[in-house]
Each structure stands twice: as C-alpha cells, then as structure tokens.
Point group: C2
Chain length 319, copies 2
C-alpha cells in the first residue's frame, strides 16, 4: 500500500481535499461546498467516509491528516474565530478529526500551510530563511527562519497583511487603519480604482460598479494601458514594497515568494514591488533579496500545503 | 581551574572585556579606549596579553571568546563597514582573534549579543519567542524565534531601528526617511525637543543648544512636568509602539524587553509604549504581549551578552 497523507484546505466557500504522497504529488482530490455542513463534525465525518472509500479503491494507506484553514492554530489544534467560516468561536479541529480518523492530525492557517507546501514541494526547497506572501482577497503570509516556520508564542505569527503601511490610511476589516491588505490585495486593488476614478476621466473602468469589478478585469485594462488600472497596481506595489522592506529589516530572508490572484498580474507586480522594496531597504539588504513567484500551481498549493504540514510533522516524530 | 569565557564588547568609544562564568557572573573586567588601536590586530594582541595575565593570576581557564560589535556578522565572523569604528571595510574578526587566542571565537552585533545575555542570564530565561530592543544613541534589536536568535540568511536580521514608521519622516543616518530610530532613540528625543521647541514657549529646555542637550536632561525636565520634554517622550513612545505592533504581527513574541538609555526613563516609556502598541495591535495579539525592562544592569549587559554568545555556541558543539 502506498503511504499518503490527506491534505485538507478549509475555505469560506470550498473545502478541497486530496491525497498527497511524500514527493508532493496529488494522487486523488475532491471538494465540497463548506456551507453544506452545519456542524464542523459533519464535515469531518463526510470527508472521512469519502477518503476511506477512495483509499480502499486505490490501495492507499492514509498515515496522517494535515489541515489548512483561516485562523488555524498550530499549537492549540484549533480554528479560532474565523470570520469567513460558518462555525463560530473556537473549533477543536485536531480533537474532532483525530477521533474520527484515528490518525495524527495537524492544523495551521492557510498561509502557513501554503508556505510549508512551497518549502517541501515548491521553489523554497533547501531555503532556510524565506517569506511567503499570499495576495488574494486579503494578504496572508508565512515566515521561515532557520528552516522553521515562525508560529510565535501563541501560534498566530506571520500577519504581514496587517502591518501598518500608512498612518490614518484605509479602514481595514480588522478595525484598524492603514493595514497592508487594504492596499495590496485584490480587494485593495478594487478600492484603489474606486477611490481614484474621478482623477481618470478617460478610464474604461469607470463604467463598472465597484461591486462588479474584479482583479482580472483591472489586470486586463492595465494590459491595455488604462491609467486608472495602472494607478491601482502602482499603489498595491508601492505599499507591498514598503511592507516587505520592513519584513526584510526584521528577518532578512533570502527569497520572498508572491502567490495568489494579484501575483498573477506578473508584469504589474514583480518588477514594481521589487523597485519600491529596494528604494525602502536599508543599504545592507539592497540587491540581495530575491522576489519570486511561487512554483506551486494556484489550484494545488492549498492541498499540497496542508499535506506538507502533515509530512513534516511525521518526519519530526521520526516516522 | 575555573572555566570562563572572555566577553568582549567593542564600541565606538570603549572596548569592554571580562571573564564570565557559566552562571553569567563577571569575575574580572577591564577596558580600553577603542581609538588606542590603529590596527584591529593590535586590539586583539593587547587584550590577549592582558587576559592571559589575569587568567594566570586568578587560575581561570579561558575556553572561548565571544565578541559583540556594531555590524558584527555571526555567519561571516566579521565586522562589516561599521560606521562608528576606526577600522574600515570588512574586518575578519574571528580569523584574527582565533589566530591570537587559539580558542574558539564567535562574533555577532552588539544588540544580538545583549539579546543572548538576556536569554542566558537575564529575564528571558526559558522564553522561546521574545524581542529585545536597545534604545540608546540608535535603536538596536534582537529577535528570538523558536528559542533561536534570528540572524537571517546573511546574518544581518533584526534591524528594528530601521523599520519605517513615518512616510516622508525624519532623515535617518542610513540615508532614508522615517526610520524608527530617528524618533525613539536618545538622539530622536533630542531632535523632537529641537523640532517642537517653538510650540512650547514656556519650556525651560528652550534655553539649551541642541548640541548641549542629552537624554538625562530631557528626562529630568519631564519629571518636573515640562511640556516640551513630555512631548518628546510621547513622540518616542508613539513611534516605538507602532513599530512594535508591526514586529508583533510578524513574530508574535511573548515578551518585548526594552534596554538602554531611553528605557531608563521608565515612567515615560513603558506605560506609553504599551498603550500605543496595544492601540495598533491586531485584535488577536491584544493584551498578550508583555513589555518589560531588561534584568541585566546597563554596564554589564554588553560583556555578559558577548559571553553568552560564546557559552551558547560551546553548548551547541557539545562542550
């Protein structure tokens, strides 16, 4: 029987899961709408039944379960007050899954999981000090120092999305003003278009309601040279560059990986972010830090990341 | 013979050194003016001769040498382009000292050394995740994650003093604008007095030239309720609070230690910095992070820190 781990990515909309072998190949995958499950336990029971069947069909041995989820806490084995999930309060994820699966279960937040995926199966193989940034609806991150993920004393470290990049800046979902993710996420990009549209009377983006706009549309207009779209990308790149300069001052990584929707707009993100980061770096760090795209495919990173967590923990235990 | 390590703190003005035992007690100490030595090698030769004599007199066995110095690089064993030292370029510190002492030699920057001192011999015993901030002429820092000092991929991590805390802010010695240390160091405090003195016609501090001012004078005026002095401390506390909120978002430490001249003005630093930090913290981190004074005496921290580096490295090697 081939040994695999179950990688599960619990998101606000979808829960993706699959089997991943020790080389990082996804050998089976499926998904559910997260909202199907009133109780968290129902999710665990359904996934267990489906995985048992798939494992039997394919002759797989499930040796552990890794879970990535918003507000997932590695130390506590919990999901804690995740605003985008229907289950409120603190969910004892590891306890519930271990009871049902009877295998070792590990959880961390989605960005940390993706970071481990990059480290075990992607572009960060062999790197001891790197930073991984997810630029999606919000901004998530994972920080690796001395070859170990930085969880902090409470398991909640790595909130680069909530670095303050502008005093009295944009209101963030977290209740504060000026967080990075209000500028350098897909949501931030759309906000920039809305804020600056009066300054660009010639922009074709002005005909859309903010509610109808998405990152892809802004990207396509930027490709055509739309100045409002280019302005929105410039703001996103500038604030991210400043935030990354601060992250470098603290942890001095060898590489910073960018992943997620915004990072797909490569020509409007990588070179400009690098430029703004370099402008804001202390001399000793200049022209040293590489800014690279993630090597994991967008639709695979979450499952591979959750699985990477499990493989890594098993190896730590000497299995 | 009692085993000791030599702890050496090389500063722009003084070079302090001493013998420190495994419990962190300083058993002998002495010092030189750093400017006495034209060649770096002369410093090493002089210290070696004096230490050999002292060790013989007291029957000590010097098992290793630890050095803290500005721009000291742990990985390279060097001091690199330290602006405040008379030796320019890259100094191969470990190579020179090992040749002369014929013992294992370790170097890191002064703030990292002090951080290790706090960890081995001070208030950070047993802590796995903490941050150490030195508030002197500049702002230095050491970050400990998972029980290990964060050196970064190049040995230069931990430059919290150069986090950007204000866009288009004060010009820093590093050439950029808005670095933390332009606000929250003793130098920053004096700059604040000078910048705001026109707004406080009643302040007794106005009678001094900026060149004659020092931190102690501003502190004494603040104690008497001088509004200009209080304003300067408020600015220092506010910028430090914001910077620490960003550091917490990245590394989530259990404790932040404050050390150095500015930290001695306890009533104008600890409570205000805590207030500003809490105001700027993401909810998940609020009321969790302790802000504490260093437990090491100001005149002992540097030697103990340099010695802590050596003791720690020896233990890693299994000696």
């Amino acid at each position: 029987m081939k040994k695999v781990v179950a990688g599960i990515d619990i998101g606000g909309t979808n829960t993706d899961y699959g089997f991943v072998d020790a080389e990082g190949d996804i050998l089976f995958r499926s998904h559910h709408k997260t909202h199907e499950f009133e109780r968290f336990e129902d999710l665990a029971i359904t996934l267990h039944a489906e995985m048992l069947k798939a494992a039997k069909d394919k002759n797989f041995d499930i040796v552990a379960v890794g879970i990535g989820a918003p507000n997932g806490n590695y130390y506590n084995g919990t999901i804690e007050y995740a605003p985008n999930l229907q289950w409120k309060g603190i969910i004892p994820v590891v306890e519930i899954f271990e009871r049902i699966f009877n295998k070792p279960v590990f959880v961390t937040n989605d960005a940390n999981a993706a970071t481990l995926g990059e480290m075990l199966f992607g572009g960060a193989k062999g790197l001891k000090d790197f930073v991984y940034i997810t630029l999606g609806t919000g901004v998530g991150s994972g920080i690796v120092v001395n070859g170990e993920l930085v969880y902090g004393h409470d398991g909640f470290a790595g909130e680069v999305g909530h670095i303050l990049v502008k005093e009295h800046g944009r209101l963030c979902g977290c209740g504060r003003h000026g967080c990075l993710e209000t500028y350098s996420s897909v949501t931030g990009l759309i906000r920039s278009v809305n804020i600056y549209k009066r300054d660009f009377p010639g922009s074709a983006l002005r005909r859309y309601d903010m509610a109808d706009l998405n990152g892809k549309m802004i990207y396509e207009h930027a490709l055509k040279g739309d100045k409002l779209a280019l302005k929105a990308f410039d703001i996103a790149a500038k604030r991210l560059g400043i935030a990354l300069a601060n992250v470098v001052a603290i942890t001095s990584p060898e590489v910073i990986f960018l992943f997620g929707g915004l990072a797909k707009a490569k020509e409007f993100i990588f070179a400009p972010v690098k430029k703004y980061m370099e402008e804001n770096l202390l001399t000793v760090f200049r022209n040293k830090v590489k800014l690279l795209p993630s090597l994991l495919a967008g639709n695979e990173a979450a499952i591979k990341g959750a699985a990477a967590l499990a493989w890594r923990e098993l190896r730590k235990r000497g299995n």
